[in-house]
């Protein structure tokens, strides 16, 4: 083991596979760390080769979150498990109104995974972290026997700095709040579905997977009174709107005509019998802001490229049971409900 191997790793021949010993704590694991993880995530805290990262607190108030990523396939149009594992956790921090600063990354690798696949995932993570302005400062690797994993599972946890006095959380939502949506819905859900080869569905849709810290900073910098933020991952907009409404026991009305959905996503939904309001997103969020600041907040979102397509989609109407109604362009209204399980493609 020499210093040069850190900065100049020998490329492993293609066809090299993850072995049980890569998680065994011995020489092979050490080589994996030095040749794959350390060069990609390169930062002083990680280079210290300690059991954890020790650093001064980036702010008086912190946000802390964790998430696990088990997506199949590992690579899909618009992203991969690596970028997703960074964006997902960075976005959960952003939804707390925090600026993400550091992440941990735990890898569960399946025996037999090509090392080149792992390198691709790790490179993608590093690029996503750089784009989001966070450092991956500590990590862990385990290997499970062949057949007991889907190639790679990643668990990331993150810390973010909160440098404002707002209480951004479901309990802060008030009757009369405006509900804003950061962009069009359903891209990630459709991209993943199309990428799973067993459905044999072709689609041009790319995942919307993206970091959301920048638009959230712009939103907060606008001075708007932001009450709550929620990223629209599993369960989509419908689940988020219902969870918030039921938690604070305030009814909500959404205007279906104001909710942007791209034509390719709509086509896929028409074909499969899916509702875009229930589809997963990885780069979209909803914001509950004081009515008086709705226009200012919307303008701030629209000034960021990632949220240029933001729109106002509804209002928290009055204290109640937390019912969310959807106004349909044709004039009628219907109650929105969460799904019982996954959306399943219908027969005809």
């Amino acid at each position: 083991m020499t210093e040069t191997s850190i900065s100049c790793p020998l490329p492993a021949p293609p066809g090299d596979l993850v072995q049980m010993a890569h998680g065994g704590g011995g020489r092979l694991m050490n080589t994996l760390l030095r040749t794959v993880f350390l060069p990609a995530f390169d930062n002083p805290l990680l280079a210290a080769a300690h059991d954890g990262a020790a650093f001064p607190s980036p702010a008086r108030r912190l946000a802390f979150t964790t998430d696990s990523y088990v997506v199949r396939p590992l690579f899909f149009p618009g992203g991969d498990i690596g970028s997703l594992a960074v964006h997902g956790t960075v976005n959960d921090l952003a939804m707390c109104g925090a600026t993400p600063t550091s992440l941990s990354a735990g890898f569960i690798l399946e025996e037999g995974l090509p090392l080149e696949t792992l390198r691709r995932v790790v490179r993608s993570m590093a690029a996503a972290a750089a784009r989001a302005g966070v450092a991956i400062v500590t990590g862990d690797t385990k290997v499970v026997e062949r057949g007991k994993g889907d190639g790679v599972y990643i668990c990331t946890a993150g810390i973010g700095a909160i440098d404002h006095e707002l209480a951004i959380r479901p309990g802060s939502v008030r009757a009369g709040d405006a509900i804003l949506l950061s962009g069009d819905l359903g891209r990630h859900g459709v991209a993943i579905l199309a990428a799973r080869s067993e459905l044999a569905m072709e689609s041009e849709v790319e995942s919307d997977s993206a970091p959301l810290a920048e638009p959230v900073r712009a939103l907060l910098a606008s001075g708007a009174e932001v009450h709550c933020l929620r990223d629209l991952t599993r369960g989509g907009l419908a689940a988020a709107a219902i969870e918030i409404a039921e938690f604070c026991r305030i009814d909500a009305r959404l205007d279906e005509g104001a909710i942007p959905v791209s034509d390719p996503v709509r086509s896929a939904c028409e074909l499969l019998g899916f509702d875009p309001l229930h589809l997963a997103n990885e780069g979209r969020f909803a914001a509950w802001v004081a009515e008086k600041d709705a226009d200012r907040a919307l303008a701030a979102l629209r000034s960021c490229p990632a949220t240029a397509g933001a729109s106002r989609i509804g209002t928290m109407t009055r204290a109640g049971h937390g019912t969310v109604t959807l106004r349909i362009p044709m004039g009628a209204e219907r109650a929105l409900d969460m799904l019982a399980g996954e959306q399943l493609p219908r027969i005809c």
Binding site: L272, H321, G341, C348
Partner: protein
């Protein structure tokens, strides 16, 4: 989105609703046959746009809903066999059998897969020659040609490890069963546009004449359905009872001849059990003797599995338009999409699920 948005135009919809109001002089009860139509009606709130006297009853045209419990139990038995790959359309996976559903079978270790086309099941069989691949062939005349094509392909390519659990049913016998019932309330039908795209509508003409009931072949978009209602109530007001084609952009009088020929080559008409209704003579499709070796029920010896329907579920009455989901004492309490008693609560096209999904306006926590 082209070819969709034109049929969802709010101003045009209001215009049709006004035209219906102008025509109607007394109450009429119409039945939309297809579950896809039911879903459009509830999702877009179309019934709320109609004059008070015009009632839409939700018909038996959801393939998931009418598949009898017995067949689900047979599917579960086959799926649980070692070495079997059980392939199905997505919404069959949550339909409860006597003990659990196919999603539960998958969790317990069965290899259950979702496809969009029956031909994919043949491909799966070819890719797994040492295992048995079984396709759950569910649906009305709309999906029957694709299933027939899968069987014909398996025969042509000698895919002997492919078989079919058949549950195809036919619309006209169901309409006749409803019209022949002494408790019938239906005065006019919106026939299922996609079924007629395959089959045409000549077989509905004798039914319209025999029962003196107007039948309008209708599409699935909001304007299609409103126009179908307008044509149907106009006939009723004028005392006419014929078959009319609202969905002419898709349906021809004789249907799709190659598709019909394929279905007739592979299948023959047999009696079938309907969930909640019971056996209807000549109401379904079974494999012709020439294709009998592709019949999963005999290959896996499950034909002896017999099951009775749970007594509390009124889905049979709902499917015949005799009750609405809201008249069921179990609706929303002992029967929900998470724990369905019957298939009408499971499928996206089922009347109970459509009511539950779009109308759950009762206060949270209240029954």
């Amino acid at each position: 989105m082209k070819y969709i948005d034109e049929y969802r135009d709010p101003a045009a919809a209001r215009g049709l609703a006004r035209a219906i109001e102008k025509v109607v002089t007394r109450p009429w009860k119409l039945m939309e046959v297809c579950g896809g139509q039911t879903n459009t009606i509830v999702r877009f709130g179309l019934d709320g746009m109609l004059p008070a006297g015009v009632t839409l009853l939700h018909g038996p045209g959801c393939p998931v809903c009418v598949t009898p419990l017995e067949l689900i139990d047979r599917a579960l038995a086959i799926a649980a066999l070692p070495g079997v790959i059980f392939v199905s359309f997505g919404d069959m996976l949550r339909v409860p059998g006597t003990r659990g559903d196919l999603l539960g079978a998958r969790a317990a270790g069965a290899d259950v897969r979702i496809v969009l086309s029956p031909l994919d099941a043949v491909r799966i069989a070819q890719e797994n020659p040492s295992r048995q691949t079984v396709f759950f062939g569910v649906g009305f005349e709309t999906t029957a040609p694709a299933t027939a094509l899968a069987v014909a392909t398996a025969e042509r390519d000698g895919v002997s490890n492919f078989s079919l659990l058949v549950s195809h049913v036919l619309v006209p016998p169901a309409i006749e069963a409803i019209m022949g019932s002494p408790t019938n309330q239906v005065q006019g039908f919106l026939a299922a546009g996609h079924v007629c795209t395959v089959m045409g509508f000549t077989e509905y003409e004798p039914i319209a004449a025999r029962y003196n009931v107007p039948i309008v072949v209708t599409g699935f978009e909001p304007l299609d359905i409103l126009q179908g209602v307008l044509l149907c109530v106009t006939q009723l007001e004028e005392g006419r009872a014929v078959v009319e084609n609202q969905y002419s952009r898709s349906v021809r009088r004789d249907g799709n001849l190659p598709a019909r020929t394929l279905v007739e080559d592979v299948f023959e008409v047999i009696p079938r059990k309907w969930r909640g209704i019971g056996e209807i003579p000549a109401s379904g499709l079974g494999l012709r003797p020439r294709f009998a070796r592709f019949d999963a029920e005999s290959r896996f010896d499950v034909a002896s599995i017999r099951t009775e329907e749970p007594p509390e579920c009124i889905s049979g009455l709902v499917l015949q338009g005799l009750r609405t989901p809201l008249e069921c004492p179990a609706f929303g309490t002992r029967c929900t999409p998470e724990r369905p008693l019957g298939a009408t609560m499971v499928s996206a096209e089922g009347a109970c699920a459509a009511y539950y999904r779009h109308r759950r306006t009762a206060p949270a926590g209240a029954p």
